[in-house]
Amino acid sequence: MSSPRELLTGWGNTAPSLAVVERPRSDSEVTSALQHDRVIARGLGRSYGDPAQCAGGTVVSNRGLWHLSPIDPDTGLITAGAGVSLDELLAVSIPAGFFVPVTPGTRQVTIGGAIAADIHGKNHHVEGSFMNHVTRLRLATPSGDLEVTPESDPALFWGTAGAMGLTGIVTEATIRLLPIETSWVSVDTERFENLDGVMDAMATGDHRYRYSVAWVDCMTSGPRLGRGVLTRGEHATADMLQGKAARSPLAPPGGTLLTVPITPPSGLLNRLSMSAFNEAWFRRAPKKADGELHSIGAFFHPLDGVAWWNRLHGHRGFLQYQFAVDDAHGDVVRQAIEVLSSERVPSFLAVLKRFGPGNPGPLSFPLEGWTLALDVPIGPPQLPSVLDRLDEMVAEAGGRLYLAKDSRLSPEMFATMYPRASELDAVRQRVDPDGILSSDLTRRIGLTPPA
């Protein structure tokens, strides 16, 4: 009885590879799934590159590992199966007056994926990354099932944060949720004509807000380089609501408004259309507005309103480039945007955030400083070498790329960017002595052998 093989990619629809896909629904089925030569876990496949695919091996979907405990009203603790998505969790927790402590730009990520990537959100400067709010987790490893807490096994606990599945398959985790009074966010918006304006405002004012994010235009040049819209906010209290909203303050987030049912021909998104989009988006934002109420969905997860938006990038697919640099090297943000603009690489949806201190995870991405994330369609012939150049700039500045977004990093650059990667060796030797856990990503960046 063999499971079918499926062609898998990440969200960017690039570098497909074929693997057997197992869909365990119990701990014993997870244990069987680990009896293969080459295995990696997969959640909802929102990583852009290839961390959740395994050429010639076995991919273990965590979606069948689904359960949700009651929320402890005093501590906000909830225990969830690794296959529960943030969308599913929020549908239940928001009406009960609780939010997730960290959310990325989409709700379509699983708890297991959130841990494996150690995701971050718009509140990293205040609250850190996802793993900071996990109190315990269960890990299925080739050496057996383990109950892991930061106290009982800090090396394995923090080693798992951002390790992209290399320490085992998360089956369950307990998370501390954030109490909220309403499902609205009070938002201050400000528009800046250039990057300096945006970055100054963030550096001086972010500490006053729980949430902060800037959208930055990477296609303008000269004095308008990096013009942006900065939105910062805090969960709205009940007294801020009026009318219908006040009567149901904890209404759950919206569902899908639109969908992209097929993949349109490549070229729908090109320099012209993206420039036009950027201009429209920039003009649409108010120059300055304070205390506006946005729904949780609109503030945190704007793209979730369009299902399969990644298809708009056409058959060639696209990639995301996200890096982090410390405050001493904040000028790398400007330099990166200058390179993209001068090399005429079309990109929209460039997001700039501040990071607070990182956590002990050797492969956890956030480090205190700045992070810039951008979407780039695959097509411009200069793109591979432009990104290699950005890699060098980031590495030289002591920064690194986010593995959950990466689809083209070289082994040499990875080693430079994550000098603490070898700290994971002892842990992996313990939980996975035969080295069966590997993905296309880990083979590509040299974390596991190439063959």
């Binding site: 570098a15 050429a55 058959h315 060639r316 990639l319 591979p384 083209r408 590509r444 052998p449 190439p450």
Partner: protein
């Protein structure tokens, strides 16, 4: 493992002394390709090629013996090549080929047999051997050197041209047979290129150097095109030439 641009980290060249193939690999070595296996017959040339590729950026270059005139050895060569690459390989280039001398070959059954063995039968056997290996790998990329000479065969080199026509058709069918398994297979159709194979021959329109051909081919390898023409203009040229009435085709120069 290939990346989102389809850039390979390991390459196996079957026909490892081909000038064009080596120029291609040298460019790939400047990007992500660090492990190269060259399968060929001439040890001296292979060693020289290895040195060039190391200078171009490859960290490991392994050499494997290959006898293209013996199609029954193709499977073993494929196995040895993949083993030398470490057990799996991202890109396989099939660049084996003999031009032959039309005026003598057409009267010579043994020469004709050898031409077909080297240019068509050996590569077809190699592809048959690669098929299961690559499907088991779950990802992979093959590019086969055909030629414009196979698009529409001319009297002037019909022996060579027809072997390339056969290889071309075989490869396209092969490509379709592995498409759903995540294996990308492409046919490369170079026009006239200045290499040791064409040394001393009269130049014809749209001739390029190996360097330019390699540039075009590397671009093509990164695309999803089923056929890579070099130079690209030949695609349009042959769209027309294909449909010339026979009497006009027979009058074509060369």
């Amino acid at each position: 493992m290939q990346n989102a641009f389809g850039q390979p980290q390991s390459v196996l060249v079957l026909g490892g002394t081909s000038d064009i193939a080596l120029a291609v690999v040298a460019k790939l070595a400047a990007d992500r390709t660090k492990t190269v296996v060259l399968a060929g017959r001439n040890e001296e040339r292979l060693a020289a090629a290895a040195a060039t590729l190391k200078a171009a950026g490859a960290t490991t270059v392994e050499l494997v013996a290959m006898e293209a005139s013996d199609p029954s050895s193709a499977a073993a060569t494929v196995d040895a090549g993949i083993a030398a690459a470490g057990g799996s390989v991202d890109l396989v280039l099939i660049a084996v080929g003999l031009l032959g001398e039309q005026s003598t070959t057409e009267d010579d059954p043994s020469a004709t047999i050898e031409l077909f063995d080297v240019n068509l039968t050996w590569p077809a056997a190699a592809l048959a051997a690669l098929r299961t290996r690559l499907i088991a790998q779950g990802s992979g990329h093959v590019a086969v050197f055909s030629s414009v000479a196979g698009v529409r065969v001319r009297r002037a080199n019909f022996s060579y041209g027809s072997t390339k026509a056969g290889l071309d058709a075989f490869t396209i069918g092969f490509a379709d047979s592995v498409r759903s398994s995540g294996i990308k297979v492409q046919v490369i159709r170079p026009g006239f290129v200045h290499t040791k194979m064409t040394e001393g021959m009269k130049e014809i329109p749209f001739t390029t150097t190996a360097e330019v051909a390699a540039d075009n081919i590397v671009k093509g390898l990164g695309s999803s095109a089923e056929v890579i023409w070099t130079p690209p203009i030949l695609k349009a040229v042959f769209l027309v030439l294909r449909h010339l009435p026979a009497f006009a085709w027979r009058r074509m120069p060369g």
